[in-house]
């Protein structure tokens, strides 16, 4: 059963990606004001959503690790693996956001970058999680996971600020498409469909990569435990 699912999910993901691509490039119409360039929203917005979700998963993993590290070490290791996987894959998707954004901005606004609230806070979010990955690399020893979990919690406190920034400050980033003023929202239903297909496709792709990374990390942990056991037995 598990094997069937494991083979089926990547296949379904690839099909969804194909469908998403088709929707984004061929089916959805040009935007009234931005023209063809607008289509980058089908990559930019899903990537941003996936990045935020994965950073949230990383937070849960960090909290779980701190909660379980005394009472249930195995569960704590699982939580830590999720924390690392979430952070790493989240950084990748956040990089996508930070590259597709300027590409769009150069065409749509004439500038690559501006230091407005949303762009700045997304960049800060990226920096925080890169620093999390750096801590994991530089800190040594058994306490590394604890320290990284604490940093993960600190970093995650930044996420709400990123989300709310578009509401709190006057900003050059396009006003919220959904939930903004009454004139916002995508008018053409085919555009909404294209966005939803791409959201689904990129979520599935992100989850696939996340799951693979989690499995790799679990293997690392198991090997490390085996090595530690062997070292212990060799010295005994």
């Amino acid at each position: 059963m598990k094997k069937v699912l494991l083979t089926l999910f990547p296949l379904v993901t690839v099909l969804l990606m194909v469908q998403g691509y088709h929707q984004a490039i061929y089916v959805a119409p040009d935007d009234a004001m931005q023209g063809y360039v607008f289509r980058i929203i089908y990559y930019h917005v899903p990537s941003a959503s996936v990045a935020f979700l994965f950073f949230f998963i990383s937070l849960i993993g960090s909290v779980g690790f701190l909660a379980f590290r005394r009472s249930s070490p195995n569960r704590a290791q699982i939580a830590d693996a999720w924390a690392l996987a979430g952070a790493e894959v989240g950084v990748v998707f956040c990089t996508v956001v930070l590259t597709t954004g300027p590409l769009w901005g150069r065409r749509a606004w004439g500038i690559w970058w501006t230091w407005d609230a949303r762009l700045t806070t997304t960049l800060v979010l990226w920096l925080i999680y890169v620093s999390y990955l750096l801590l994991r690399r530089f800190a040594a020893g058994p306490q590394m996971q604890t320290l990284a979990a604490v940093l993960g919690i600190f970093g995650a406190l930044d996420v709400p600020i990123v989300y709310m920034s578009n509401r709190w400050w006057r900003t050059q980033h396009p006003a919220p498409v959904f939930g903004g003023d009454q004139d916002s929202g995508m008018k053409d239903p085919t555009m909404v469909h294209a966005l939803l297909w791409n959201m689904l496709a990129w979520f599935c792709w992100g989850l696939l990569v996340l799951f693979l990374r989690y499995q790799v990390e679990r293997r690392h942990q198991e090997y490390a435990a085996i090595e530690a056991q062997e070292a212990l037995e060799a010295s005994a």
């Binding site: 701190l66 700045t120 806070t121 800060v124 920096l127 925080i128 890169v130 620093s131 999390y132 750096l134 801590l135 530089f138 800190a139 040594a140 020893g141 058994p142 306490q143 590394m144 604890t146 320290l147 604490v150 940093l151 919690i153 600190f154 970093g155 406190l157 930044d158 600020i161």
Partner: protein, 222 residues
């Protein structure tokens, strides 16, 4: 103030008073940063008003990183850190005492630097000058509270001096933004600093609380 907190604080203040390591190095480093920025960006007239806030904050940031690293390194020598861990008091009091001590040192540096700023940047405060006495301590507290916490976090890694700024600066960025925007709007009188002051206050409260709660986890990590 509990007696444990006071003991820790008095110890740090006494050590600093006798050696004056941190304050001297911070003061000189901050001064150097101010001069470097002045040469790089040539502050004249109105432009000086615009950048003075930013230069002050960045100078404070770089200066305090050197002091923060030192603060915990001093504890590791002679196994003082292990003794602290074995003491039956909560780590939060040690943390708070270190934050208070470092806050005092950084504030002294800022006050000492203020005349230098007024002179080098020909500063005239167009907005409410009194608000500066609110904004600068709030920003400094954010820097020192987070900095002390992350210094304790980084102390057990290789490359610990390098790691502290790498993990501190991204998380400190919102507070830096608030501090610089508030200071600039007070100096130029262009806009209302209260949004940024409220943001800084919120930031301080959130991160001080989380630091106090999580310090024991970091301190006793093994």
């Amino acid at each position: 103030m509990s007696s444990t907190l006071w003991t820790h604080l008095a110890k740090d203040l006494r050590i600093e008073w006798r050696s004056k390591d941190a304050i001297n190095s911070m003061l000189f480093f901050a001064l150097l940063v101010v001069v470097l920025f002045s040469i790089s960006f040539d502050p004249r007239g109105a432009f000086a008003q615009q950048i003075a806030g930013g230069v002050l904050c960045v100078a404070t940031m770089f200066a305090s990183v050197s002091a923060l690293n030192q603060a915990w390194a001093r504890e590791i020598r002679h196994q003082v850190m292990d003794a602290q861990r074995m003491a039956p008091t909560s780590g939060a009091e040690l943390f708070l005492a270190k934050v208070l001590a470092n806050f005092l040192f950084v504030s002294i540096v800022q006050i000492a630097l203020a005349p230098v700023f007024l002179v080098m940047y020909n500063l005239r405060v167009a907005g409410q000058a009194g608000l500066l006495a609110l904004v600068l301590p709030l920003g400094t507290w954010a820097l020192v509270a987070n900095g002390t916490f992350f210094a304790a976090l980084a102390i057990r890694s290789r490359n610990r001096e390098l790691l502290l700024p790498l993990i501190l600066f991204p998380i400190f960025l919102p507070a830096l933004l608030g501090m610089v925007q508030a200071t600039t709007s007070i100096l130029t009188g262009d806009s209302d600093p209260w949004l940024w002051i409220k943001m800084l206050t919120g930031y301080d409260i959130i991160f001080t609380t989380v630091s106090l709660l999580l310090f024991d986890v970091v301190f006793h990590a093994e």
